[in-house]
């Protein structure tokens, strides 16, 4: 517009061309002041809730014009001083508010200011968009918040009062009073709106400090008078209260901070005292199966550093102590089945604790496993006992139990088996026990037997179970052989005794010294028939009779005509058959006739003559033990309410001390080739290795079967060197070299 008017002037009055440039269009000097007055008045009306009479369009246009005509600076400084003035007025009214009304007044003024700020920003939108970015000024909204912060929140008469009021309200809420949470939320929200720094400095930091003091005092009070369970309940409640408080009226980011204060003051600082608290600490909780308390302890302690490891350590040492007592308790060792059942019960108990209270925590499970591994192996007879436990279960224990339950029992046994260091010892015993079960036909369920074999196979590999499986195969083959025998020879045998032969492959079965006894004539004839039949169908084999392992069923008629069927061992059968032809036989005579080894014979006679209710023989003199001078008669007065009478053999189910030594020796002997094989395997691939590394690797390779003794490994190495499999390095004596 200006240049246009100049141009037209120029054309009309060419003479005054220069003068025309002197004419400057001057804005009314009072214009900026007048315009600002209008805007200032509007701001006042807005703060006075009197804006209904204002014209937005007019105010916007006035602010626009001020900026357009380069009075942006005046507009901006005017805004700052005007808003500051109104805020100071507000501050006075807030300061004079009495007691509980203080926060309400502050909140009310904050709402007013926000509304006013929004309207002022609307009017000054053009300034916000064009003047402020180019002149390094603070945008109107932010300016309004800053001025509120400086004139109200940080004013000397409000700042401390505000903080104290907030903290006092929180304290009152902690002590059980109901406070106005909505108001709290609004005030805290205001601090957050003023920027994270204001919230943190003016509220959060002091809040956390006061809270720490509060909980320090409270936790001290609780720990003096509560037992561990109650204390944990109280701590948990406090923690939940603080989390709830944050969700109701604090900044979400404060949750982690305040909970860490509670955790530190109520848990971390008293952790050891809580765990070891007399009569109610962790050990007592474990003993009394207090799953709820244990769970609470776990959930609280997991929140603090080293919390879980503290629980775990105490649990582990307690478990090791009780376990050690258990496995070394001389009373318990007397009953292997009870012994293993105790271990299983203990294991079940802790499994339950871990799953119900400890969140199925892997580290706790590991601690449990390592503890069991620790104490089970403290007793060298554990492998034997576990095998005996299985034997007991498979003989009778699992009768009438459903298939799933059998699996559960077997799985539990496998779990214990896994802890064993000397798995090969277990294998030895297992083989013996299995052989007895199979040969005596005492096994309850073929499926259960096979299921356990499969489990052992998956655990220890094919080699471990191949012989066990061979035993099953022998049983099956024998059945077929017997069928074949009777199909071929059944007719010619007539009414002679029925023979059942189990053909056992040498090597698959526990080796027994083959001491044969003299069988009764009719039996040995039958045996010879079988031998020729068997060797006729299987050439190139050798049969030897294991008379010590057989059983026989005899029909016997006693003095008063009482008839019984006697179930006896082969040895016992041989002895009893002698009495078909004699009334009285001396020990010597029996020994001569049967050629049964004397220890076996004694046991055999003991069971025939000395067991009450089963004494089909009578002995002179009457006594508990068998003497070489004793004489034996048929007990004509024998009675039993059963038709079938089972005469047991007096056997130590558990191994006797010398037997134990023998088994041990066999185990050690069996280990030698395994250790050597491992050394050779390792050296073949490594060629050169030093002593310590060989020991480590061999131990690692063999640990699925047994824990190799370093001394023994060393001996095996020496032996291999002697046999030119290895040599020592000439320069470094610690190095071994493989010789191909």
């Amino acid at each position: 517009m200006n240049s246009n008017s100049n141009n037209s002037n120029n054309q009309k009055k060419r003479n005054f061309q220069i003068e025309a440039f002197k004419h400057k269009v001057v804005v009314d000097p009072k214009y900026p002041e007048k315009t600002w007055k209008i805007l200032e008045h509007a701001i006042q009306e807005i703060y006075n809730h009197n804006a209904s009479g204002l014209s937005f369009e007019e105010l916007y246009r006035n602010a626009y014009n001020m900026v357009l005509h380069k009075f942006g600076e005046k507009l901006y400084t005017g805004l700052v001083s005007s808003m500051t003035y109104h805020l100071k007025e507000m501050s006075k009214s807030i300061e004079t508010a009495q007691g509980g009304l203080f926060l309400e007044e502050l909140n009310r003024k904050w709402i007013d200011h926000n509304k006013a700020l929004q309207m002022i920003r609307d009017i000054l939108m053009y300034m916000d968009r064009t003047f402020i970015p180019g002149n390094h000024k603070t945008p109107v909204h932010e300016l309004g918040l800053n001025l509120w912060r400086d004139n109200i929140v940080h004013s000397s008469k409000v700042q401390t009062r505000l903080l104290n009021t907030l903290l006092e309200l929180i304290l009152r809420e902690r002590t059980g009073e109901v406070i106005n949470r909505g108001l709290m939320r609004n005030i805290i929200k205001m601090l957050m709106d003023l920027g994270p720094l204001v919230y943190q400095e003016d509220f959060e930091k002091p809040f956390l400090e006061v809270s720490a003091d509060f909980y320090r005092v409270e936790s001290q009070k609780f720990i003096e008078c509560c037992d561990c369970g109650d204390y944990l309940k109280k701590a948990e409640r406090r923690l939940n209260e603080e989390i709830e408080r944050v969700s109701h009226y604090l900044d979400g980011k404060s949750e982690a901070k305040i909970t860490s204060v509670v955790e530190k003051e109520m848990i971390a600082n008293h952790m050891l005292r809580l765990v070891h608290m007399e009569n109610s600490g962790l050990v007592n909780m474990l003993l009394d199966d207090k799953y709820e308390d244990l769970g609470r302890m776990y959930n609280l302690f997991r929140r603090v550093p080293n919390g879980l490891s503290t629980i775990r350590d105490v649990m582990t040492s307690h478990l090791r102590d009780t376990g050690k007592q258990l496995v070394t308790d001389l009373e318990r060792v007397k009953d292997p089945v009870e012994f293993v059942q105790c271990l299983l019960n203990e294991r079940d108990k802790y499994d339950k604790v871990i799953s119900l209270a400890f969140n199925i925590d892997k580290t706790f499970q590991n601690a449990l496993n390592s503890s069991f591994e620790f104490f089970i192996n403290l007793n060298p007879r554990s492998p034997e006992f576990i095998s005996l436990f299985v034997d007991d279960k498979l003989r009778k224990g699992l009768k009438g139990v459903s298939e799933e339950d059998v699996e559960i029992v077997l799985d539990k046994v496998m779990m214990l088996f896994r802890y064993l260091h000397e798995k090969d010892v277990f294998e030895k015993y297992y083989k013996q026990h299995l052989a007895k079960r199979l040969l005596s036909g005492k096994t309850v369920s073929d499926d259960a037997e096979r299921s356990l074999i499969v489990k052992l196979k998956t655990e220890c590999g094919y080699q471990f179970t191949s012989k066990l499986e061979g035993m099953f195969t022998d049983m099956k083959t024998s059945q077929d052989t017997m069928q074949g025998f009777y199909t071929n020879h059944g007719a010619e045998l007539g009414d002679s005794p029925t023979l059942v032969v189990q053909v056992l492959t040498t090597g698959s079965w526990p080796t027994q010294p083959t001491v044969t006894c003299n069988l009764p004539a009719e039996m040995s004839a039958l045996c010879e028939k079988f031998r020729s039949y068997y060797l006729g169908t299987h050439t190139g084999r050798r049969l030897s009779w294991q008379t010590n392992m057989g059983t026989a069923d005899l029909k016997a008629t006693f003095g008063k005509g009482q008839k019984h069927e006697l179930n006896v061992s082969t040895y016992q059968m041989c002895v009893l058959m002698l009495f078909n032809n004699a009334d009285r036989l001396s020990y010597k005579e029996i020994e001569q006739a049967t050629e049964i080894p004397s220890s076996d014979l004694k046991r055999c006679l003991q069971s025939l003559a000395c067991v009450k209710g089963k004494n089909v023989l009578r002995k002179e003199p009457m006594s508990k033990d068998i003497g070489e001078e004793d004489a034996f008669f048929v007990n004509e007065k024998f009675t039993s309410k059963f038709y079938k009478v089972k005469i047991g053999t007096v056997v130590a189910q558990k191994e006797s001390e010398p037997e134990k030594q023998e088994t041990r020796q066999r185990v050690e002997e069996d280990r030698k080739p395994q250790i050597e094989a491992a050394i050779v395997r390792i050296m073949k691939s490594r060629r050169v290795l030093d002593h310590n590394n060989i020991i480590t690797e061999v131990t690692k390779q063999l640990q699925s079967r047994f824990l190799a003794n370093p001394g023994e490994i060393k001996k095996r190495i020496e032996s291999l060197i002697e046999r030119d499999f290895l040599e020592r390095d000439n320069a470094d004596r610690r190095l071994y070299r493989y010789l191909a």
Partner: protein, 445 residues
């Protein structure tokens, strides 16, 4: 009732407009209308009185249509500038800008305007800003234009000769300039695009000593880094790296022996591979060096040079001389161009390969203008652009077929061009003038 309440009568500069609050609400809360109809102001739509707005009714009609349809039609009797001023009053300037031209398509470009500057001498570079503005480097000055093509205060860095310029965001421009020996002048600086004031000057530090240096080609990465080729007094040749937010130098890639980095003509940050392409070309150096730098491993991961290339005759040498290079990450290749606008391609995945020159026509040969400008390359969303003399060619498709050619009848050869903010800017060398090419808004149907 609902419909009646929605109705708004406005008296704009004496002319009555009837519209709906819904239409005006499209302007957004941060506009005049958004504020006006906020409940605080008690100006409920549907109130019986007209709302008087003391503004130009013709412009308001255009802006109201913009709110109604999303499209901008400026009648010939309204000066654009007047409309922009009105849009600024209402807070609708962003609406106007986004409706003014369409999304960029190299094959649909129309010449929108040509701007004549007043700087003496040849133009050095033109750079498009992110929202439609541009800056033009001439000698020691950089002239800045916003999207309305209004000129803002010009920028200079100690009045040293400017080598390159670039936009970091819509209000920040970085320029690189020659040093003035011993005075610490020149180097690289960050400026406000709207006010032209220097906001930050970047230093090069060697052994804890601040050195003066000449900054050359520039490139910016998406993770807020600035790269510049640098030449210092004491052989500090190489590529410097600065952080955009702190302004601190965070890395320096020293030039390996017999390889030129400090004199680079072109830097290009590759987002996909996190590598920097550095090209130093004839005639700045006698030979061409193109390499890819990996700053994490401080390694040159790919390189090519024409040193030792067989020379059959002088003419052929010129034909094989690379004048510009650009990496194309989508196809893992580098495109180069010779002075006859033949395109050549190299595989980025294997180093030590040679250029496959495309056998396009060599119409240019023998028809070179008196003052030739060497070709420049640009890539934008799968379209390849190459400037040659007074025209810009557009290539598309996997085989880079020539699909369009942009030419204007005057102004002479194009010495530089740049694409950004959905616009293409072309700077001419003979006359101090640059063109703005835009894609028209999408068709109505």
């Amino acid at each position: 009732m609902g419909i009646q309440k929605d109705r708004v009568r406005l008296n704009v500069g004496g002319k009555i407009f009837e519209t709906t609050a819904t239409t005006l609400a499209i302007a957004g809360r941060n506009s005049f209308f958004g504020a006006m109809f906020d409940e605080d102001w008690n100006l409920q739509p549907g109130s019986p009185t007209d709302h008087l707005i003391d503004r130009n009714p013709d412009c308001f009609a255009v802006l109201l249509d913009l709110l109604r349809t999303g499209e901008l039609y400026i009648p010939s009797n309204i000066p654009e500038k007047l409309l922009y001023r009105e849009a600024l009053f209402y807070g609708l300037l962003d609406h106007v800008r986004s409706a003014k031209w369409g999304p960029f398509d190299g094959n649909r470009l129309r010449l929108s305007r040509s701007i004549t500057g007043r700087a003496p001498g040849d133009g050095t570079a033109i750079r498009a800003g992110p929202d439609g503005g541009c800056c033009v480097a001439h000698g020691s000055m950089v002239h800045v234009y916003d999207w309305m093509l209004d000129e803002h205060p010009a920028i200079n860095l100690d009045y040293q000769r400017v080598n390159d310029a670039g936009w970091i965001d819509s209000d920040s421009i970085v320029i690189s300039a020659c040093e003035r020996v011993g005075r610490g002048d020149g180097g690289m600086g960050l400026f406000s695009a709207s006010t032209g004031e220097l906001r930050y000057k970047f230093n090069v530090t060697h052994d804890d000593q601040v050195k003066s240096y000449t900054a050359g080609a520039l490139s910016f990465s998406s993770d807020d880094k600035i790269f510049s080729s640098c030449k210092g007094r004491s052989n500090e040749y190489g590529i410097g790296v600065w952080d955009q937010t702190t302004g601190k130098q965070i890395d320096f890639f020293y030039e390996p022996p017999a390889w030129s980095l400090g004199d680079a003509d072109k830097l290009q940050w590759l987002h996909g591979t996190n590598c920097l392409l550095v090209a130093t070309l004839f005639p700045r150096k006698d030979n061409c060096y193109i390499s890819l730098l990996d700053f994490r491993e401080k390694k040159m991961v790919w390189s090519w040079s024409d040193i030792g290339a067989p020379v059959f005759d002088e003419g052929l040498l010129d034909e094989r001389r690379v004048r510009d290079a650009i990496a194309m990450e989508d196809t893992s290749s580098i495109c180069v161009v010779n002075e006859y606008e033949d395109l050549g391609f190299m595989d980025l995945r294997s180093t030590g390969g040679s250029v496959r020159w495309s056998s396009r026509s060599r119409l240019m040969k023998g028809k070179m203008p008196d003052e030739p400008c060497y070709p420049k390359l640009a890539l934008h969303e799968g379209q390849l652009f190459s400037s040659m003399n007074d025209s810009i060619s557009v290539f598309c498709g996997p085989d880079w077929v020539l699909t369009s050619r942009l030419r204007r009848s005057y102004g002479g050869s194009i010495c530089d061009f740049s694409i950004g903010g959905d616009r293409l800017f072309a700077l001419h060398s003979e006359e101090n003038v640059f063109d703005i090419w835009e894609t028209p808004p999408p068709p109505i149907m």
